[in-house]
Amino acid sequence: MNAPLIGARIERKEDYRFLTGAGQYTDDVELPRQSYAAFVRSPHAHAKIRKISLDKARQAPGFIAAYTGEDFAAAKLGGLPCGWLITDVNGQPMKEPPHPCLAQGKVRYVGDQVAIVVAETSEQARDAAERVNVDYEVLPAVVDGSKARAKGAPQLHDIAPDNTCYVWALGDKAVTDAAFAKAAHVTKLDFINNRLIPNALEPRVANGSYSRADDSYTLYVASQNPHVERLLMTAFVMGLPEHKVRVVAGDVGGGFGSKIYLYAEDVAVTWASKQVNRPVKWTSDRSEAFLSDAHGRDHHTVAELALDKDGKFLAMRVKTTANVGAYLSTFASCVPTILYATLLAGQYKTPVIHCEVTAVFTNTTPVDAYRGAGRPEATYVVERLVETAAREMKIDPAEIRRRNFITAFPYQTPVALMYDIGDYNATMDAAQKLADVSGFSKRKEQSIKNGKLRGLGYAAYIEACGIAPSAVAGSLGARAGLFEAGEVRVHPTGSVTVFTGSHSHGQGHETTFAQVVADRLGMPIENVDIVHGDTSKILFGMGTYGSRSIAVGGTAIVKALDKVIAKGKKIAAHLMEAAEADVEYDRGVYTVKGTDKKKMFGEVAFAAYVPHNYPHDKLEPGLNENAFYDPSNFTFPAGTYVCEVEVDPETGVVRIEKFTAVDDFGKIINPMIVEGQVHGGLTQGIGQALTEGCRYDDATGQLLTGSFMDYCIPRATDVPSYQVDTRETPCTHNPLGVKGCGEAGAIGAPAALMNAITDALGVTDMPMPATPQTVWRTLQNKKAA
């Protein structure tokens, strides 16, 4: 038996491949007779299409074919579906305007797809696409979510009056209002949660291939969930049987949510591959990625917290306008509702909460889930309110949190969720100690002596991960289940291939999942391979997002492992001539109670495949099991972040002096991988608060931050060396006790950072991102006031 693997800092198995250029990304897939596609995209935010002329494109060297929305309509291809139905405050379904793959009659944002052009080479496809002549009648555009419902605002969709997708609410308004009426203190904030552009390192790629031999399609695509992609594409758009479509998402270089969705380009290349009878590949360039990858966040929120005289929270009232962009992306509707309002209790016993969300269409790129998806927005609301309330009431911000922490579990929040377990004081204690909060005032004095400002801010976040119990999701409007599938295939000589419906696009599943399996089977990790990302290999999969992989996908594997071990027990009992009830199993070894008889797992596997001495009357040969797992609850990772900043008041530059993160992710399989996830999440969260802000021109609807020249994702020098630690309260409802760690950093960091900056500046609020100019402007305004 080997040393325990759960909890071990094992180096990532996949890194050798990635670091030596041996990865197989979608763009690496080159098929025989490969052709290449380019998309003609709208240069206008809002325009009618009068006429599209392909004549000049057809003359271009290497031209193969070109198709427009008319061709797609003639082929009866459906629009891109939305996977979550939200029911509004009047019991009516949300407005779901058609989302054609290629524009039909009208374009609604800069970058909207107008035509696909296929040619012999990628450059020839681009050259030909430049020759497509589109005659537009430019219309006025609206890009700001808070202006979308204004009188006279340009209207995007006939079926959505006032550009309104839905007005939705959660919680009891009357009770909440009554609590506010009795409050000793009310803290109110009005802010924007800034729109972000995901920017995965690998841009999106899709390579569609049609086979006349069996009338089937294969789509190679950079996706976080190939089965979901296939389901949406076949059943809702192309009207194809699923067994005739294979979707392969091999190595994927980052997603952060942006590769969950079914995109128009995926459908277009797949359909075009049959028309031209050649594989058709499209590789997004970075400029296209800025325009066409689903964006994140973009909320305008007015939030209030009611407190009694001792700083006890009485009620919270939140009103949010969520800008969903020009069309509903795959999960756009659930992000600002189900994944947002349900998290507004945070770590606190706030007894009543009311949240109203208005989702609006604008002439911007569709907005969907981006690392954290709704939960960073919720945490920002709660933690900015709590910190501000503490300052206003002159209560220590950690103390006001402690006075309101939930301490008894399970805990039913007023916003639908049931927290199973947590220890918020433990993470707060550890974070305060690690951050040396007690030494802050001395450090602040020193900063002041140096002509600098110093501030400290907390964020005590919670998130709901491990999505989701399918029945709950279904009752809330999900149009799919949210289980996961796993298969454990034991080979005759005892090595194991595991097939998972989770998808790794940087998370390190090939290591983490292998650790779980190798640990249970008592074998070296080298003997276990994890396979994902191919609908022809994996039995089914809902994919990776919402920090669900280990909690849901990992559990499915454990359930399959349990079946393997149970069948092995029957075989072992036969081999050892013992009753099955007397056979015990521990990490690779079957023993007979009270004897020294034992059989190694490898011997049992061999017997299963070379069944000379085998209980054929009771058992089938072979050792290969699968399982589907549908969780009974969400998991609730939580933690405390402490950020300390120094601000140069002359220039407005913010330097993060210390960033401390203490997280409770439940049981941890590989601490090194978890730390990496936290570092990445924190960096993206810091990006939102400090450097990243998507901007559109109000008048023209042009994307102003369309490249890295203007859109600033944080570099290594922008972030500090993080201090991270964990506390463990194991999840109560999955066998591994795990909760998920992928998004925590991005969820907690913005609030901690903005709390620190506002503390340093001595202001109540200021907009994200806190760029030097914004900080300087805020200080000038404060001086003038």
């Binding site: 450059e123 681009r126 050259d127 430049e130 400029s287 002359e650 220039t651 450097t691 901007r695 102003l704 931050t705 890295f708 020249m709 203007d710 859109y711 600033c712 922008d718 760029t771 030097p772 100019q773 300087w776 402007r777």
Partner: protein, 263 residues
């Protein structure tokens, strides 16, 4: 990127002869190649200066430092001669773009392009440099004509830049957080008796700040410039920095540059 003809001339004369139609010189390509990749520029011919001998290299004679047009930013940053004679110039080169840009970009390419937010123009103007070309010489004060325009004529190719060695100097750059170009960069050079202050990034083209020069010539000290208010009229204004903010930063960066020069 559109297709183009690529040339590798072995002499300046050959290079100049190839500059016909919409041919473009390639001198590091850190702006040109990006523009071509975005299909914003489609030159018919690219004339690579990288194969012409003697265009790269650094010479120092105590009074001046001469940098060949094709000298890479990284080589200027690491040059012992530059670090000894004009450490501020080496420091400036080390701040350009990122490591990859510094490994490819050249001083000649940067000056010929004359990006309003480029760093080198500040050094050229503050250090009263002379720009030598295949056709003659340009004084710094008459070289930078406007946004992306210079005194270079058609077919004129920069061969070297000669900087005067100051008594002391420093460059302070406030970077655009995204692009790392200068939102405001101030180069202060004290020649003992006369002082030159050049500002890049703030306006459409690099410019000298006469009021600061006068004040610093009287007394080379941070407080001489600390209260000089720069007018925001004519300064650049964009989403990263308003003209008001840039004007403010010119004063802050100038004061910090003087402080640094005195260290």
């Amino acid at each position: 990127m559109h297709a183009f003809k690529y040339h590798r001339p072995s002499s300046l004369n050959d290079a100049a002869a190839l500059m016909k139609g919409d041919a473009k010189l390639l001198a590091g390509g850190q702006t040109l190649v990006q523009t071509m990749k975005l299909r914003l520029a489609s030159p018919s011919d690219i004339v690579d200066l990288g194969t012409i001998k003697d265009l790269a290299g650094i010479k120092s004679d105590g009074k001046s430092v001469t940098v060949g047009a094709m000298t890479r930013h990284a080589d200027v940053a690491h040059s012992a001669d530059v670090n000894k004679a004009i450490p501020a110039l080496a420091a400036l080169a080390a701040m350009i773009g990122d490591r990859q840009v510094r490994a490819m970009g050249t001083i000649g390419g940067s000056l010929a392009n004359n990006d309003p937010a480029a760093d080198y123009p500040a050094a050229v103007l503050a250090l009263n440099a002379t720009i030598t070309t295949n056709k003659g010489k340009h004084e710094a004060d008459k070289f930078f004509k406007g946004m992306f325009t210079t005194a270079l004529g058609a077919g004129e190719i920069i061969t070297a830049v000669s900087f005067q060695v100051p008594k002391r100097a420093a460059y302070m750059k406030f970077k655009n957080p995204a692009s790392r170009f200068a939102i405001v960069g101030v180069f202060v050079a004290d020649f003992g008796g006369s002082v030159r202050v050049a500002v890049t990034g703030a306006g459409p083209v690099v410019f000298r700040q006469a009021e600061m020069e006068k004040a610093l010539a009287a007394k080379f000290a941070p407080e001489s410039v600390a209260n000089i208010k720069v007018k925001q009229d004519g300064l650049n204004s964009d989403m990263h920095a308003s003209a008001e903010y840039r004007a403010h930063l010119v004063t802050v960066m100038a004061r910090r540059a003087v402080q640094a020069a005195l260290k």
